[in-house]
Every structure is written in structure tokens, then in C-alpha cells.
Amino acid sequence: MNRKDGYGHRGWAQRLATIAWLLLLLPSTTVVALDGADVFKKSDEKLIPDICSYSLEINTIGKAGKEKSSIFTGYKRGRDKNVLVSRVPKKLAGSVHLRKQDVIWSYSTINHQLTKVAYQSIFMGTLLNYGDVMATELSFDYDFKEAKEEGKNYIIDLTPKPGRDGYARIEVTINKDTLLPEKRSYYSQTDELLKECTFMDIKFGDGGLKRMVIEFSEPKKERKTLVTFQEVKRLSDVPEKYFNENQIRYLGGE
């Protein structure tokens, strides 16, 4: 064996070892460089299925424990179409709320009037606005702005898409392992915290999400609102007329 052959074996071994180390390190460096927009989109898509029906319960607990409860049956089709038929309270049973692209409609069984509602209008005496309730996928209304890592989570900053109504900024905390949201913080144009929500009790089954509870709170208001998505069922389709505002009174039957 000459000196050249011995040097050649050691050189190759070193090169192979270096490549192996690089391959081991590659996933972590890839995570650091992961597209925040991609994380946001994947997190959004993991939640409520694209086409489905579901039951939505909204409980607001006020000062001194005064509780208000609303229950709806919802139908979702894609990112921009969502309709809710009110079941509880009795007074509003049969009323229907519809979100279609940028517009929200509300049909009331009390005055039988179909009205357009702004995104920021308060929803039925809760801490939520119509946009909070009717917009099931943030990625339709918001653009990714920036992302950072913080321990086990990604912190994603979102701003409204041009021409869209919404909060000036939303900060979403997403678990790195599950890509599920843990918290959202909603900010005003002056960067004042308006409200926060915490995701709890997210359960998946065959076919996707089965149950999810979100707790909303506002710093200045002494009450909280619990939103529960349950009985989520994937559907092959929801008829287009469900999302025609002139037809929604037939959904409620009044």
C-alpha cells in the first residue's frame, strides 16, 4: 500500500462522516427556515374541514355568573362560505347568518328582515363579532406578515388582506409539533390588545376534527365567551343555494 492509497481511504471516510452529520442536522436547519406562511396555512387547514356540517355553541359568562347560550347548526363550503341556523335561544330560533366572501348577511325571524352586517358588528351580545364567528379560516382574510420561534411554538403575525375587513393585527401561537393553534391575540390599529382566545380540548377522529373549544376574553370586559365546535361531519357537498342570501329564510323555515 503506498502513501497515496492510505490518504485516499481516510479522505473518503471523512467526507462520508461530514455528509452524514449534515444529513442529521438538515431537518433542524430546515425547520428554522420553514416558510411561516406555509405553517400558517397548514395550521388553518388542520382545523375545520373544507366542506362540512357542524354544531356551534357559544356561551357567554358575564359578571356574577350570568350566562347566555346560543346554539347553531352550521354548514361550511370552502374558505369563504359559511352559514349558521340558530336553534337557541328560542326567541331567535330559525334566524340565519351567512358569510359569503367579504359579506355577512343576517336574516331575523323577529322582523323577517334580511340585513347586511359589518364584519366588526357584535354578535348577539357576546364578546365576538360577526367576523370572529363566521370566518372559519383566517387565511382567507389575513396575510402572513412575519414569524418567529418561541420555545415549542411558532408565533405568526397576520395582517388583513388589502380591501378586507378585520383586526389590524392578529398574533397566532402555533404548536410546532401538532401545527395546531394554541392562542390568538387580536390587536387594534394602535397596537392595543383588543381580545385573546385560547384553544382548548381539540379532538380529532376519523375524518378530521370532531370537537374544539375556544375561550375568548377581553382585557377590559369582565366576561368571557366559550365557543364550541362539535358534531363536525365531513360532507361531499353543500348546495350552492344555502349560500344565497335570498334563500336563507328557507333554511330556518320561517
Binding site: G62, K63, K66, E67, K68, S69, K81, V88, P89, K90, K91, L92, A93, G94, K100, Q101, D102, V103, I110, N111, H112, Q113, L114, T115, K116, V117, A118, Y119, Q120, S121, I122, M124, G125, N129, D165, G166, Y167, A168, S188, Q189, E192, L194, K195, E218, K220, K221, E222, R223, P239, E240, K241, F243, N244, E245, N246, Q247, Y250, G253, E254
Partner: protein, 443 residues
């Protein structure tokens, strides 16, 4: 509530007696229909839903002895009233594509403003069957249809011509109709309606040609939506046409704004007025052709997310103009005409009905301010103002309400104050003011 000669208990009671007679004559009374629906529906349905409402309203009023409509209380109107209303709703899905709905209502006046005293009735407030397929939806029966975006003046509401906007909306009664709707994708529709006019029950048995027909085309594109319609009826030389436009948007994260307009054109008037004729005052048709009525309105809602004593403030303004309305001279002639009829109570009572609310000046303004969850959750203060822009008389309506039991129960107080010169529309009102308290409960 306020119109002597057109008080709900008398006006609707008269219609109810006729309606009840007609139903009995058909051999199938309303109880039979209810039993039929409840008997058949569960066998075919997936669920039967029930809902009930009770409402009671004691009220007191102060009379205006100088009113031309009720001079020195000629009509013997009382100052206290107690009104009770109960509703029972039954709704059932009949298979996958059909629904049935019936609303029974009972009204009872243990004490009434009107001299007739205690009165009561039970009637079918609404009853309809829905059938829905992929390319059309059909609703047949009695139903209330809200027509247009306006909140107080309803110029394009050619269907519900007798609704009093000062009364709770739950009291609005619909008309028997057939409504056929063809959705076009998810942003448009064509509707065809025919209905029995609420003022036409007398002609119910005459001819199907008496039934008006409405053709409506609705559309929406982003924040803008609206509809156009045409109404045909036997006796019209030309159809009546109407237009609605509506736009709503948010400004920042606290303010939302809605703007709307409704417009109606009709070739001829079917209204009357009092005018000099052959040297005496007579009731004559309103002359001329080409009448236009419209409203433009705005609604702003401001959310107070940082406040512990107020959730939101809602402000509304609505301007109404109608070329078919009376002018001040017509109103003065009407008052003079009533004065000449004071000795003939029956004719005086009939003549009172000539006047239509909010149609006695060319222009009106409605303003409303509502504060939601003021000081405490679910407590609302509302102040509304109706202003006659010709004689500057007005109605001022402050109101308080509190909801509880998961929004199913509401207690409240409403005050109506009629302000203006003695010969103005509201200054000459038969009452100076009225105070109502109410309790409403759904279960």
C-alpha cells in the same frame, strides 16, 4: 295603538271576524288545519319544533281635547289599556325538502283604549308550507315578508300596507301569498309572488284578477346588494316599479356603516284627500300621475371594546320623501272636514280613516340612537324621533329594556310624546302622550 278608528283591536278584529267566517264557510276550520299538520307532520318529519311567546303591555295615555280627530273625546276613548298577546309556533320538517310552519296568536284586551272595552280573538297569524328543490324554492301560505332595507318608512312595501312602525314588529301580520324563488348561483335570484291584499278581503271571492303579482330580481356583488321589482294588478294602467340598494362596510375595527335607499314609482294614486269641490269640502282622489317615493338611510354601529360601561352605540337616520303624500293645506282641509262632521259620529269615525300615518307631509326624518349594554349587560336605552319636515311637529320615543333568561325574556318601558303646534300633524294628534310597560317571554 294611536289611531282612533284604526286601533288594532277594532281594525283587525273586523277583518278577523270576516276571515273566521270565510274559513268556517270552507268547511275546514283552523283547528282542523292544525290537527292535520300536527298529525301528519310527525309521521313524515324528522322533528317538530314548538315555540311560544307571551307578551303583556299595560299602557296609559293623556288625551288631547283639542284634536280634530277626537275633539273633546268625542269617540269616548279611555286612558288605560291592558293588552295581552300569546303566540304558539309549530314548525316541522316534512322530509328533506319541505317544511311546515304555523303561528297561532291570541290577543286579549281586558281593558282597552277604545270605548268598545274588553275584546279578544284567536287567529292564524302565519301558516305556510315550504318546498325546496335545487333550482327553486316555493312558499305557499300566510307569511310576513319584509320588503326593502328601510327601518321606519316603507315606501316600497307594496305588500304590508297597514303595518304601524311604532308597534313591536312581532305584531306585523302577513298576507296569504304564493312565493316562488329561483336562485341563480349564490348571488342572485328571481322571485314571483302573488298575494291577497290585506285590504282586499272583501273582494276575496270576486276574481283571481284582483290578486297583485310581483316580479322581483335580486342581486349582490361584494358589499353592494339590491333588488328591482314590478307589481301588476288589475286596474293599474301601468305597473308599479321599485328599487332597493344597500351597502355595508367596516371602518377600522370599531365602526361599521350601512347605507341604503328604497324607491317606488307609480303612475296613479289610490289615495284620497279632502279638498274644496263645488264650494264645499269633499273627499276626492289625489289628482295627477307619476308619483315617486323614496327613502335614503344610514346606520352606524360603534363598538366600545375598551369600555366597561357600554358595549356598542347604534345610530340611525332615515329621510323619506313622497310626492303622493298630503301637504299641510290638505291636512288643514282634513281637520276642517272632520270639524263639520262632529255631529255625525259614524261619518266622523269613517272620515278619520282617511288619514294615513307618516303620509301627511312631503318629507319626514327618522332618527334613532341606541346604547347597548349600558351600565350593565343586556340593558338598552333607545331614543327615537320622527320629524315632519313641513310643519316640524314630531314624535319623541324614549325607551328602556332589559333582557334576561338567555335573551328569551325582556322587560321594558316606552314613552310616546307628541309635539307640535295645534294645527300640525302631531300637535293635533288625539293623544298628547302614552306610556307603555311591557314584558315578553319566549319558551
Amino acid at each position: 295603538m294611536l289611531r282612533i278608528g284604526t286601533h288594532p283591536s277594532n281594525e283587525v278584529g273586523g277583518e278577523c271576524r270576516l276571515r273566521t267566517n270565510l274559513i268556517r264557510a270552507s268547511g275546514l276550520n283552523w283547528m282542523g288545519w292544525l290537527l292535520f299538520l300536527l298529525g301528519v307532520a310527525p309521521a313524515e318529519s324528522q322533528a317538530v319544533e314548538f315555540r311560544a311567546e307571551v307578551y303583556n303591555e299595560p299602557a296609559v295615555q293623556a288625551l288631547n281635547a283639542g284634536s280634530s280627530i277626537n275633539p273633546n273625546n268625542l269617540q269616548s276613548v279611555n286612558q288605560f289599556q291592558y293588552f295581552l298577546r300569546g303566540d304558539l309556533d309549530v314548525k316541522s320538517a316534512l322530509g328533506e325538502h319541505a317544511n311546515a310552519f304555523i303561528k297561532l296568536e291570541g290577543q286579549f284586551y281586558p281593558a282597552s283604549f277604545l270605548p268598545s272595552g274588553a275584546d279578544g280573538k284567536v287567529f292564524i297569524k302565519a301558516m305556510h308550507l315550504d318546498f325546496s328543490a335545487s333550482f327553486f324554492s316555493l312558499r305557499v301560505g300566510k307569511q310576513y315578508v319584509q320588503w326593502g332595507s328601510s327601518v321606519f318608512f316603507f315606501p316600497i312595501d307594496v305588500i304590508n300596507t297597514q303595518r304601524d312602525p311604532l308597534r313591536p314588529i312581532e305584531e306585523a301580520e302577513g298576507s296569504p301569498m304564493i312565493s316562488l324563488s329561483f336562485p341563480i348561483k349564490d348571488n342572485a335570484s328571481i322571485d314571483l309572488l302573488t298575494y291577497v291584499r290585506s285590504d282586499a278581503l272583501q273582494t276575496l271571492n270576486k276574481s283571481i284578477r284582483d290578486l297583485p303579482v310581483l316580479l322581483k330580481a335580486a342581486f349582490s356583488a361584494n358589499q353592494i346588494s339590491g333588488f328591482v321589482f314590478a307589481q301588476y294588478r288589475d286596474g293599474y294602467n301601468y305597473p308599479r316599479v321599485g328599487l332597493n340598494l344597500d351597502v355595508t362596510f367596516s371602518i377600522g375595527e370599531s365602526l361599521s356603516l350601512g347605507l341604503y335607499g328604497d324607491l317606488l314609482y307609480k303612475y296613479e294614486s289610490d289615495r284620497q284627500k279632502v279638498a274644496p269641490k263645488d264650494g264645499a269640502l269633499s273627499v276626492v282622489p289625489i289628482p295627477g300621475n307619476h308619483f315617486v317615493s323614496f327613502v335614503v338611510g344610514a346606520k352606524a354601529i360603534f363598538n366600545f371594546s375598551q369600555s366597561t360601561w357600554l358595549d356598542s352605540m347604534q345610530w340611525m337616520v332615515e329621510y323619506s320623501q313622497n310626492s303622493e303624500n298630503w301637504v299641510h293645506n290638505d291636512l288643514l282641509n282634513y281637520y276642517l272636514y272632520l270639524h263639520f262632521l262632529e255631529s255625525d259620529l259614524a261619518t266622523h269615525f269613517k272620515a278619520v280613516a282617511l288619514k294615513q300615518e307618516y303620509r301627511n307631509a312631503p318629507r319626514y326624518l327618522f332618527l334613532s340612537l341606541a346604547l347597548q349594554s349600558l351600565l350593565t349587560e343586556d340593558f338598552e336605552f333607545r331614543l327615537s324621533h320622527v320629524l315632519n319636515l313641513e310643519d316640524f311637529s314630531s314624535v319623541l320615543i324614549p325607551a328602556l329594556s332589559y333582557s334576561f333568561e338567555n335573551q328569551n325574556a325582556t322587560v321594558g318601558l316606552r314613552v310616546y310624546a307628541f309635539l307640535g303646534d295645534p294645527d300640525s300633524e302631531y300637535g293635533n294628534s288625539p293623544i298628547r302622550g302614552q306610556v307603555q310597560t311591557f314584558f315578553q317571554y319566549y319558551f
